[in-house]
Amino acid sequence: MIINANEVGYYDLNKTIVASTDTEITVKNAMGQRYIGCGVAGKRITVEGTPGNALGAYLDGSRIVVYGNGQDAIGDTMNNGEIIVHGSCGDTTGYAMRSGKIFIKGNAGYRVGIHMKEYHEFFPKIVIGGKVGDFLGEYQAGGIIIVLGIGCDGKAPVGSFCGTGMHGGRMFIRSDEIPAGLPVQVSCTEATDEDKASIDEYVAEFAENFGYDKSELLSGKFYKLTPNTASPYKQLYTHN
């Protein structure tokens, strides 16, 4: 099914998508309509243009490909599926996502992967091609975030306060320098070959999606960020 989203409001657009029995759906001329693919399972949605906020929120196993830029809250509380953006995206990408994959070709805004969590077979992955804003992986409780820093000339492709409140999961930052100002509860080490092997498949998928050379991307220096403890606030309280 092909839907021309030109001058269609989000309510009608999303109703059409949800009601459609087609699994392949193409939305042309997206112009900021919110909630595209919200909670949708079992579809392949292609978006041409610019989708609005909360693209693929609560996504439950669909694949969404955007030819354009995304906005804020992509994949908010996403449970499963895949979101691929051939451009950049805004803040809180992958907020509290529990599983599935998000690939962003360009840059992403603040608070990418905030509150991402994993559980048993649920394991979320975010790969950002360029750089990200402040608070990357804030409160991260699981899953994996990879920032490749393409075009950053080896400078740390993250903003301030990276990993604040992180207490699970891991991040890989492709950079020649250690991200500045990491909080005490995050440990940062240079990624070993073994570490790099653990992200091989995600980088490969990123490279395949956007036409990069995987081995070239992996050949660079990566820093691996992990939390020091799963209970960073344990010592803070006195029973009263």
Binding site: Y10, R34, A54, H115, Y119, A141
Partner: protein, 501 residues
Amino acid sequence: MALNYFQPLFDVIRDKDRCIKCRACERQCANEVHHYDAELDKMISNSQTCVDCQRCVCICPTSALKITDNPNKFRNNSNWSQRVMTEVYKQAETGGVLLCAMGNPKEYPVYWDKILLNASQVTNPPIDPLREPMETRVFLGKKPRSVTFKEDGSIDTKITPTLELSTPIMFSAMSYGSISRNAHESLARAAAELGIYYNTGEGGLHKDFYKYGPNTIVQVASGRFGVFKDYLETGAAIEIKMGQGAKPGIGGHLPGAKILEDVSKTRMIPMGTDAISPAPHHDIYSIEDLRQLVFSLKEATEYKKPIIVKIAAVHNVAAIASGIARSGADIIAIDGYRGGTGAAPTRIRDNVGIPIELALASVDQRLRDEGIRNEVSVVVAGSVRSSSDVVKAIALGADACYIGTAALLALGCHLCRSCQTGKCNWGIATQRPDLVKRLNPNIGYHRLVNLVHAWDHEIKEMIGGMGINSIEALRGNRLMLRGIGLNEKELEILGIRHAGQ
């Protein structure tokens, strides 16, 4: 051994003539207050760890035990009270933030107790609920401004989804994790039998309880624990938790030690890791952002569920409520500063927020002044202790009340305010299997049903006495209220007259 700067809060008094050394108290106390000394052949108590939960007192077959306040007192001082001094000692010893539980116990005014109800005399006859039909059913959600009908008499106006309550009472949000599985089951079954709703809190919904979905409100908080499509679709309504009366402005934090297998499954997080709900939703910095979350939830559930936005009662609550009413939310829940919690920093619990009575009155007035009262229902929480509190709340403008502490009392809680230790002897605020099994959900749910039935009957008696036979006719009917011992400003905010006027 380090010198103790403060003495135990309580004294365990054992009547030696009555004590038969059955050791029931020893087995029942998770705080290990009691033990049997075989050499001395007597029961020994360690008051130091006692929290005054009254479990041993209730279980003692010969009524040999009493827990009293420790009569030992520091030198009298109206400024530096014993409590204040003890807190200083504790913090000097540990360097930690004081952590406590349940609602604010300090001596702030309780406005419910300064409001009196009206009754009919002579001119408008009272109604006897035993003999005449009375209506306490309420619908929560948006109300249309006008209703149009089709030619065949059916309603033409599009009605947005609502919650139907048999009586204007619901069980407040309490997460699985903060309370036990048996406590949750008791609440869920009681809600189903009563035709009301209970609230999952932010801890997700246990698979075994999906069957109570039609009577379940599912919560979405900043941590998004256990939130996924099935969860959202199972609930009758979705509540976005922005704040909580016991700890406005701060988030939740379930320590990793309490994340055992079942809780981890329900929250969908690994065992043993802290469950941190940050204070803000980091995607919500404005009413417009809130609107985005409200509508993403509506979109995900195809506009079939009412969306509740829960906030703590804070200083500018009326303006915030006005914003929420414009955000597309169907129901606003407001939680007063006396609301309970499984854990909160003492300073926050005891000093932040405002009384629910004043918050409710100002919110209802503000929404009416702006002509948007019909856009949302208003549910209030934060220490609704009895049916008369419910009646007063509705007369002040609420559509319904949430009860949390009262519901836990029905299950056996004695308000020892030690939930944060996870050693609840009543099997409520604990995940320890040996303690959880003390709360029998078959009995627990029955006690909750009893409580709400009793309140419902009392509500009918009170409104019947006013000559009102429908709870709808009481809502915002502040003429039924009079203040007692309140100053002009308080009366003005509550929108009521003083007794005698």
